[in-house]
């Protein structure tokens, strides 16, 4: 079954390349949100299989977003992976303490991104999932 990923990041370029990577290389469905607030709404509305969450965002940052997601019944169990440039050991520990399932550092290797996400979430090694192609 096709996985649905919600990507929350305020950087348009990051959103574009990440979305393209997961859609084209993994065949997953990627929903996007450009802020924490937008992401919380989208998560509740679409109940994705996983959420990729940026940390440093204006207004509601990634940590506050995660807390909100954990506190809302409909999103509390959705696994969240931080996609961040803050990858020091102390940061990773703090993120995991807050309930993140894992951390993927920026810049990431697009060819390995879906494998990293699958490994973190315990998804079985997957064949490339069929996804609707553009054009």
């Amino acid at each position: 079954m096709q996985k649905t990923i919600l990507l929350i990041d305020d950087e348009e370029a990051i959103v574009m390349v990440t979305q393209a990577t997961l859609e084209i290389l993994a065949g997953w469905k990627v929903l996007t949100a450009s802020s924490g607030a937008e992401g919380i709404k989208a998560a509740a509305a679409h109940r994705p299989d996983a959420i990729l969450l940026d940390v440093m965002m204006p207004e509601i940052d990634g940590l506050q977003t995660l807390t909100s997601l954990r506190n809302a019944a409909e999103t509390a169990t959705i696994p969240v992976i931080f996609l961040t440039a803050k990858v020091q050991a102390a940061d990773i520990r703090r993120f995991c303490d807050l309930g993140a399932r894992g951390v993927i550092a920026k810049p990431f290797d697009p060819l390995r991104l879906s494998d990293e996400i699958g490994a973190i979430l315990g998804w079985a090694a997957h064949a490339r999932q069929t996804a609707p192609r553009e054009g």
């Binding site: 390349v17 803050k86 920026k106 697009p110």
Partner: protein, 671 residues
């Protein structure tokens, strides 16, 4: 009256009785005719004996002597017929009272009366004599008793006197021995000059110690005034006389005096003068004890100097320093240390630091990393660490500390010295640096991520069939490469400016020209967003780095363009005001919230980060602007009202010949 009559002739006896009876006195006459009768008759009471002289075979004188021998002393009258006068006188001499011739018996009563009278007189005389004798005897006894008593007293007094003399001799002996010992003792004192003075201050006694210290022999100095022992300057000041007066009044004086040796050298002495009194309480002289304190004073001064130096070091040390003894009691703390933890030094010393001041460590909780505990631990090695001390007001204080044990020679530990440093500010700086590094990291990694991912995707060939997405990826790569380039460039510029390595190239400038130039450069970008730029300025000459001024103006105009609504106008101006050239850029954009106004000149502190990035900013533009203003001794300010727009004002000194500007320009000219 009883009369014993001795008569062996009855006729004569009768005659005598008759003669006696004539007297008419009541007389009881007893007659004894023989010796035996006479002896027997003597046992009865009898007042008078009348005896014939010539008795048969014996005489009246024999009877008389017998009676006398028998101790009977009563009048004895002899009656005789013919007794010669010589014999009569002899009888009288022997004690017979009287004699009467028989032919003249008529005289017998008279003789009796006379004899009795004599006897009475004799008895009275005897009685008186006895009385006198008794009185004399009694008086003699009293006298003897008094003499004996007095004699006893004198003997006792004599004994006491002898005892006293013995005691005094013993005391004198002990005293002599004691004086001798004292003399030996005093003479044995080598480090003190001990001598005595008379009331006028003349030296009367001089010890070996005095000779050693002052150099004078006894024969040189005895009899001399003690001012001879004072240094000339002390004598000039009248110190000897003043000291003598003082000790006379106060009984004792102690002072340090410049003193003199025989060789003329001067030394500092501690001098003690004491008054000596005679038994009447009058001053009979003075004792003097002097000690050379030159070395002691020198050592004291050296010690004081050292202590002062140490105190100055401790007082001026920026780090906190406190000492603990083996039981954890604070022995000292320097002002910086006390100030850091909010106490006065006096509040700390003498108290057990751990209990009194709760200098605990946060984090470990059990205090295992506490500098105080570390100081009390029995380790002999220095120990360093970081801890959180609790200040008097309860606030925390981050410190780094080093505990160094104080060792007594070998391995006996007397306590420890703790040196600690407030690292709160450093921690804050470190935190800021961490946050800044994190920000920079984020800002650099973001475009890198986009580039890396876009290129990665393209490299898979999976997008070959989707040229639109391919182009989009290529554009993302290019845009982010440009962004990364600008970012790196801005970071380097800012770093160089803030570290002073970026030198301004000061030149004469004209404000109007610079403003127009910047406006011209930015008009295409403005036009692309449908925004107009109106630049107006009068020529103002000043000195500045024109490229950097234009960089600031472009930055301000660029921001204005980004946030101005389409069809709006940006107003740019330059004017002279109060010695400054003031460039202003005014837009009618969304403005800046009040809480952001103080932050926007900080690095990566955009009003809205994502907006700024969308506008192609790096988050460093305004920080660079402020840095350039600072380099010109100028400043940059912003006024803004959300929803109505912002005005940025860039002030630069208007003087052409600014010394700081010349200074900045000089190296350039030299090169």
């Amino acid at each position: 009256m009883n009369v014993l009559m001795i008569e062996n002739d009855p006729v004569d006896a009768e005659l005598c009785v008759h003669a006696l009876k004539k007297v008419g006195v009541d007389i009881c006459i007893k007659l004894a005719q023989t010796r035996e009768e006479f002896h027997a008759s003597l046992a009865a009471p009898c007042d008078l004996i009348v005896s014939d002289y010539n008795l048969a075979g014996w005489t009246g004188l024999d009877a008389f002597e017998y009676a006398r021998r028998e101790g009977i002393d009563i009048p004895f009258i002899l009656v005789t017929g013919a007794l010669g006068e010589e014999a009569a006188v002899d009888c009288m001499k022997r004690g017979v009272s009287d004699y009467v011739l028989k032919d003249r018996l008529a005289r017998l009563p008279h003789a009796m009366a006379r004899a009795l009278k004599e006897k009475a007189l004799r008895d009275e005389h005897a009685r008186v004599a006895e009385m006198v004798r008794e009185r004399e005897s009694k008086h003699k006894e009293e006298l003897e008793a008094r003499v004996a008593e007095r004699t006893a007293q004198l003997e006792a007094a004599n004994r006491d006197l002898n005892n006293e003399i013995d005691e005094r001799r013993r005391t004198e002996k002990i005293l002599r021995e004691s004086q001798e010992r004292f003399r030996l003792l005093v003479d044995g004192v080598r480090d003190y000059a001990i001598y005595m003075l008379d009331r006028q201050g003349r030296i009367t006694n001089w010890t070996a110690g005095a000779e050693r210290i002052h150099g004078f022999r006894a024969e040189d100095i005895l009899g001399r005034h003690f001012s001879r022992l004072y240094a000339p300057q002390a004598v000039e000041q009248g110190q000897p006389e003043a000291d003598l007066l003082r000790v006379t009044v106060d009984a004792r004086m102690e002072a340090e005096r410049l003193s003199l040796r025989k060789d003329g050298s001067v030394f500092l002495a501690n001098l003690v003068l004491s008054s000596l009194y005679n038994s009447a309480g009058g001053i009979r002289g003075f004792s003097a004890v002097a000690r050379d304190v030159t070395e002691q004073r020198r050592a004291q001064e050296a010690l004081s100097h050292l202590q002062l130096q140490q105190q100055l070091i401790l007082d001026s040390a920026g780090d906190g320093i406190f000492g603990l003894d083996a039981s954890g009691i604070c022995t000292f703390i320097n002002p910086a240390g006390a100030r850091m933890i909010g106490y006065e030094p006096g509040e700390m010393t003498g108290r057990v630091i751990r209990e009194s001041f709760s200098l605990l460590v946060s984090g470990s909780g059990d205090g295992s990393n506490c500098p105080v505990d570390a100081a009390r631990a029995q380790t002999l090695e220095p120990h360093s660490g970081a801890a959180t001390l609790r200040r008097k007001d309860g606030a925390s204080l981050e410190v780094e500390y080093t505990v160094t044990p104080i060792l007594n020679g070998g391995e006996k530990r007397l306590g420890a010295v703790v040196v600690f440093r407030d690292i709160t500010a450093r921690k804050a700086v470190e935190k800021m640096k961490d946050e800044f590094t994190s920000l920079v990291s984020h800002e650099l990694r973001t475009p890198l991520t986009a580039i890396r991912a876009a290129l990665g995707l393209l490299s898979t060939g999976e997008m070959c069939s989707q040229p639109g997405k391919c182009l989009a990826m290529v554009k993302i790569g290019l845009d982010n490469t440009d962004r990364l380039t600008r970012l790196v460039s801005d970071i380097l510029d800012l770093e160089r400016m803030q570290s002073g390595k970026f030198r301004m190239e000061m030149k004469p400038c004209d404000a109007a020209q610079l403003l127009q130039h910047a406006a011209e450069l930015m008009r295409p970008a403005a036009a692309a967003r449908g925004v107009a730029i109106e630049a107006a300025a009068m020529p103002i000459a000043f000195a500045a780095d024109p490229d950097r001024v234009i960089q600031v103006l472009i930055n301000l105009l660029s921001n204005a363009i980004k946030f101005s609504p389409p069809s709006s106008t940006i107003w740019a101006s330059a004017e002279h005001s109060a010695g400054s050239v003031v460039f202003r850029v005014k837009d009618s954009g969304r403005g800046i919230p009040a809480e952001k106004l103080s932050l926007i000149f900080e690095r990566f502190q955009q009003v809205d980060a994502s907006d700024a990035r969308k506008m192609g900013g790096t988050g460093l533009g305004l920080a660079i602007c402020r840095s350039i203003a600072d380099q010109h001794n100028g400043r940059i300010l912003v006024e803004s009202e959300p929803g109505k727009g912002s005005v940025f004002s860039f002030f630069l000194p208007a003087r052409v010949d600014s010394p700081s500007l010349d200074q900045s320009a000089a190296p350039e000219e030299a090169s």
